[in-house]
């Protein structure tokens, strides 16, 4: 019997969980297949399924699903609810599995990440679906590592990009903007490059009532960046969480900032002008 191939869409949870997936599945008898980087075609595919008020990143996700759907036996779609009551997730992550299950006719490998359910148990249940024994799952789980990113400290003048990794690292959404920024003599730091726990605490200092994990860690990075010259908020339209949290933080900080909301990758041209004038401000300061 040939090995099972599991498809991983390069969007949304990929950016948080892929390190774990890679090492976890490498200990099991399966093959992984990834979707291509986000491009125009992926977005167009996504828009065919998406509702017009869904955020760009979710549309992109659906596009990746559509791209992968006949290239693998199973699609890996976790459902992420929260990491504790003060560390909740955007509702899109709660809905991912059910949304895809209803919109597409595909086989899905699903497990649940929630403070109410043990992750390993959920993975074991997932293993049953593809006939992998409990022992194998447990072994693979033990061996797998959950990578922690280290901060790249620099004494240079830093520009901080506050954004969800699925926005900023996306080939079509964030990359073009990073390329524009790389022209300037500043060191660019991403908000997810710090120790998550410390960010979390710092996030709570900035906004005591914030109960979403990732937005909290994103803004926490502001307090942890040395030589901070300017902040760029990058979000995909109409991100529910950023629309509140970023607006709040903007009112709290006294650093130069630029708030970029990306609606459609076709309209990136206008952003260049805004970045130019923002850089003028940063340099003058």
């Amino acid at each position: 019997m040939s090995r099972i191939t599991i498809g991983i869409p390069k969007a949304l949870p990929y950016y948080y969980l892929n390190d774990f997936w890679e090492s976890f599945f490498s200990n099991l008898d399966v093959d992984l297949v990834y979707s291509c980087d986000t491009n125009n075609e992926i977005i167009e595919r996504g828009e065919r399924y998406a509702n017009d008020e869904m955020c760009l990143s979710l549309k992109v996700y659906l596009g990746h699903i559509d791209y992968l759907k006949d290239k693998c036996d199973y699609l890996l779609i976790p459902r992420i609810e929260d990491y504790g009551n003060r560390n909740q997730m955007c509702t899109n992550f709660l809905a991912l599995y059910d949304l895809v299950n209803n919109l597409f006719d595909v086989h899905i490998l699903n497990y649940n990440i929630s403070s109410k359910e043990d992750e390993l148990k959920s993975l074991i249940k997932m293993g049953e679906e593809i006939d992998i024994s409990e022992e194998d799952i447990k072994k693979a789980y033990k061996k797998s590592i959950k990578l922690k990113t280290d901060s790249k400290k620099s004494d240079q003048d830093n520009l901080l990009i506050v954004a969800h990794p699925y926005v900023v690292y996306d080939e079509s959404i964030g990359k073009p903007i990073i390329n524009m920024l790389n022209k300037y003599p500043y060191n660019i730091i991403y908000s997810d490059c710090f120790d998550a726990e410390k960010c979390n605490i710092n996030g709570s200092i900035l906004s005591p009532n914030l109960y979403w994990k990732y937005p909290k860690e994103n803004i926490g990075s502001i307090l942890m960046t040395p030589n901070l010259k300017g902040i760029i908020f990058l979000s995909s339209f109409p991100c529910a969480l950023d629309s509140l949290v970023n607006e709040y933080i903007i009112r709290k900080i006294d650093k130069p900032y630029l708030n970029i909301i990306i609606d459609n990758i076709d309209s990136l041209t206008g952003i260049e002008t805004r970045i130019e004038s923002f850089m003028d401000i940063v340099t003058q300061n």
Binding site: A50, D52, D263, D266, S267
Partner: protein, 308 residues
């Protein structure tokens, strides 16, 4: 000869038809509303040839100002334009299965099976991708909106334009022009994005079966029509009188609901005035419209508490 009057007063244009007992259009007229439905209706009635031997047995009004004009003309049928459009179209094309419609402010799709409306949907978000959006972009590009379609047809490589939201679209348009796209490509790109936008938003989850007809003000735009056919890969009918379909439908409804009443030909000899006021009777602060017919208050609209 018996005849029936159908008037469709939209936000941008006002349309009128006269229909005889054989359901034939014997006179029709199309003018711009210019923000005043009452004035537009008066001009319309002057232009429609109501001959002396016509006996007006019914009047129907539809469109966004249907109620006020209905009251003014004492219409026997006042119906929303979606239903009116469907009825008019089904009458002309009994086999029609899909009506695509893009008007001034709204875009909608009507699904018909066996001559009955079974499903419909409208745009939810904003005016992006509708007629008024195209007109404002035409103005920005300094083009007559009537020429829009012909210019679009010249393009071979339409520019990609994000037309999901008016604000985004406008800034995008400016930048596309700045980085050197030709006018034809931008215009074609706009037409194409209107179609994509419509198919992705309004038609989500709907089965577009043939025969398909395309109506509303934007159906006159050949560029949009072309991209509909190109993207759907199906034939899309555009009727030369497509813009009159609402007025035609409502005239047919007026005929269906006729009573023994005969309307006078001097429809316009009434004084009809509306006054907008704000009521401070309670904390609702409703914006009221008071309607006077021959100097007599006949109705008050807009009250939320039911006081009027």
């Amino acid at each position: 000869m018996n005849c029936y009057l159908g008037i469709d007063i939209g936000s941008i244009s006002t349309k009128g038809v006269i229909v005889n007992d054989q359901d034939e259009i014997i006179s029709s007229c199309y003018i711009s509303t210019e923000g005043s439905p009452i004035e537009a209706t008066k001009r319309l009635l002057n232009k429609l040839e109501i001959k002396d031997d016509y006996i007006i047995k019914g009047i129907g009004t539809t469109g966004s100002a249907r109620k006020i004009i209905g009251l003014m003309l004492d219409a026997n049928v006042v119906k929303n334009e979606i239903t009116a459009h469907a009825i008019g179209t089904i009458h002309l094309y009994p086999n029609i299965k899909t009506i695509l419609e893009i008007g001034g402010q709204d875009s909608k799709i009507i699904i018909i099976r066996n001559g009955i409306v079974t499903d419909y949907a409208m745009n939810t978000l904003c005016a992006a991708g509708t007629g008024s959006f195209l007109s404002s972009q035409a103005k920005r590009l300094d083009i007559n909106v009537e020429d829009f379609g012909n210019i679009a047809l010249k393009s071979k490589t339409p520019a990609k334009i994000a037309a999901r939201c008016t604000v985004f679209a406008e800034s995008d348009l400016v930048h596309k022009a700045q980085i050197g796209y030709s006018k034809e490509d931008i215009v074609a790109g706009l037409c194409k994005s209107v179609v994509l936008n419509y198919l992705n938003n309004v038609c989500k989850g709907k089965k577009l079966e043939e025969p398909i007809i395309f109506q509303g003000g934007v159906s006159k735009n050949k560029g949009v029509h072309k991209y509909f056919e190109e993207i759907l890969g199906k034939e899309v009918i555009v009727h030369p009188n497509g813009h009159l379909m609402g007025a035609y439908g409502i005239a047919l409804l007026a005929k269906k609901n006729k009573s023994n009443k005969e309307y006078s030909h001097k429809l316009l000899d009434i004084k009809f005035i509306t006054l907008g006021t704000e009521c401070h009777g309670c904390s609702n602060n409703c914006e009221l419209i008071k309607i006077y017919k021959d100097n007599e208050l006949v109705d008050t609209w807009g009250s939320k508490c039911g006081k009027f």
